[in-house]
């Protein structure tokens, strides 16, 4: 099952991953192989089976909303490619 180039372009847009024109055929054929593999699932009868989100069916732990971590703004900003005045910098978004 091949995935058409249009679908690959749509997925690339959804995932925000640039894919070059030259590689698009290869990507679509390999994606097709993977989808063919996972399509085996469609033949399985799963009527009435609850989807499994956690192996031990644990639920989300709740805790009091208390401040336990110090604010390390500078440490984390230091990791960013570009910052200014304590903020992350990105190309202009609004004209």
């Amino acid at each position: 099952m091949a995935v058409d180039a249009q679908t690959v372009e749509k997925l690339a847009e959804l995932a925000r991953i640039a894919i070059s024109e030259e590689t698009i055929d290869e990507v679509s054929s390999r994606l097709g192989d993977v989808l063919q593999l996972v399509d085996q699932l469609q033949a399985v009868n799963t009527d009435g089976v609850a989807p499994m989100a956690h192996p031990l069916d644990e639920v989300q732990v709740l805790r009091k909303d208390e401040v336990t971590e110090p604010n390390r703004r500078e440490d984390f900003l230091a990791l960013a490619p570009q910052t200014e005045a304590g903020l992350y910098l990105v190309p202009k978004v609004i004209d």
Binding site: L37, Q42, E58, F76, K92
Partner: protein, 484 residues
């Protein structure tokens, strides 16, 4: 000194046969001398290791030494280390120096262990051959033309090459057990949630689990005793007491019921690998265990279910790499969209991109029920097979991988062939069960792994079962020729 196990190093340090600085320096020299053949380390933190070793020696002299005081280990480069670059094998994080330690790293520091550095891995832990690393492929110490398995290939190769006695690793679909099998080492993936994932870079959050790679089950027990802990910082980490996993190692396994799933010995299994596993099962009978034929009827669906769930979760997890807050950013972005598209397009390797795209497909509008939801339903069927089996048996055994280490480059052109490497390990992750791989002989001159699957939170018994085999065999003591 490099042949010593963790248990022997602990004794040697306490009996003052050698110091932590001595063994640490010795291993750092070996890494320097030999690792250009294997490429098992991405970063070696020599100066820091010597400082930590000197501090450990001081504590040993004072007599207040914690469990692993002065023992050299190394961390898979997926665990965040404060002040030490943590790349996850990716160009995306080539410049990422975390400002904090993962809980696992912290646990080993508290226990006095000395970290020699960070081990190589498949990019974002996606792979079964350690060929997708931005830092180059890792070579198998048993034959440097062959893969060491993946994704924890560096962690496994470093132990097999006697560069370090134990390493941390992670396992999402087999990434501890399969490289352990390929390199003749002992690898343990605990129950999902037994080891904290805090500070462990996420791939597929409902499957990822950290564990040790060592040369013996006893060493795995020593490492797990430190590694496992409840952790408030990871809400999926189990809030159950941990234990001293070495306490039951010497228990007798007379009367142990071993389930042998017929599905794990069918088509696709290398006949020599199958023969070694059957011989190991006979050895277990001699030790007093009883073999029980069982069936895990949904086994065939494990790989398809995994390749929906893992990519779907990866596509969500890896959306954080946006070129804005940390990691790689493309040159001269035209606008914000271009910044995202090119930073991710250039920063991620081919396999990572492929999995993100598959995940985006499975989660996209109109496909969620057909793929992700369906896979989560199948996942419950797979889990139920194991639950039914563990009503009848204490542990389950079979091969870890269908074949011994293959040649570098052999499966690169065909992702699906690569995915089938994990055909026997993936179901354990989907079910959240603990699993181990221990050496049980050789096929085509390469190590073969015996997989032991335990019931939920039954790591102590699994380790006991593995240790008893290693007391009666010497496969785990065979050394790769290149490590001599």
């Amino acid at each position: 000194m490099h042949q010593l196990t963790i248990a022997e190093i602990i004794r040697g340090l306490r009996d003052k046969q050698f110091s932590s600085v001595e063994i640490t320096s010795h291993l750092l020299e070996r890494i320097q001398e030999l690792d250009n053949q294997f490429n098992s380390f991405i970063t070696v933190t020599g100066d820091q290791a010597i400082k930590e070793a000197a501090a450990a020696d001081a504590r040993l002299a004072q007599g207040d030494a914690p469990a692993l005081c002065g023992v050299p280990i190394a961390h898979k480069d997926i665990f965040c280390t404060n002040g030490v670059r943590t790349s996850c094998g990716s160009k995306m994080l080539d410049n990422f120096v975390p400002p904090y330690d993962a809980t696992v790293v912290d646990n080993f520091q508290q226990a006095g262990a000395v970290s020699l550095g960070k081990t190589n891995m498949d990019e974002f832990a996606m792979g079964s051959s350690n060929e997708s690393s931005f830092y180059g492929a890792v070579k198998n110490p048993w034959n440097v033309e062959r893969i060491p398995g993946g994704s924890s290939g560096g962690s496994a190769a470093a132990v097999a090459a006697l560069l370090v006695p134990g390493t941390t690793a992670t396992d999402t679909g087999g990434s501890i057990r399969q490289p352990a099998a390929m390199t003749g080492t002992t690898g343990l993936k605990p129950t999902y949630g037994r080891v904290s994932r805090w500070g462990m870079i996420a791939f597929a959050s409902s499957l990822d689990q950290g564990g040790p790679i060592t040369r013996t089950a006893e060493d795995a027990a020593l490492m797990l005793s430190v590694m496992a802990s409840p952790d408030k910082k990871d809400s999926t980490c189990l809030d159950r007491p941990t234990q001293d996993y070495t306490a039951n190692l010497n228990d007798s396994i007379k009367g142990l019921k071993i389930g042998v799933p017929s599905e794990y010995f069918g088509e696709g299994l290398d006949s020599e690998v199958g023969a070694r596993v059957q011989e190991a099962l006979k050895d277990y009978e001699k030790l007093g265990a009883e073999l029980v034929e069982i069936s895990l009827p949904h086994s065939k669906l494990a790989v398809p279910a995994y390749y929906v769930i893992a990519p779907a979760e990866a596509s969500a997890n890896l959306s954080r790499f946006d070129g804005v807050r940390y990691g790689y950013r493309c040159e001269n972005p035209a606008d914000l969209r271009d910044l995202y598209m090119r930073s991710r397009g250039e920063g991620f390797g081919e396999e990572v991109k492929r999995r993100i795209l598959v995940g985006s497909y499975a989660l996209s509008a109109g496909y969620y029920d057909a793929y992700y939801n369906k896979a989560q339903q199948v996942r419950r069927l797979i889990k139920q097979d194991f639950v039914d089996a563990f009503d009848k048996v204490d542990v389950i055994m079979g091969p870890t991988a269908p074949n011994p280490a293959f040649k570098l480059g052999e499966k690169n052109a065909d992702p699906v062939a690569m995915y089938l490497e994990d055909i026997y390990t993936i179901a354990t992750n989907l079910a959240g069960l603990p699993g181990m791989s221990i050496p049980c002989g050789f096929a085509h001159g390469l190590p073969v792994g015996l997989q032991i699957i335990g019931n939920y939170l039954d790591e102590a018994r699994m380790l006991n079962v593995a240790h008893q085999f290693q007391q009666a065999s010497d496969w785990h003591q065979k050394t790769a020729p290149a490590a001599e």
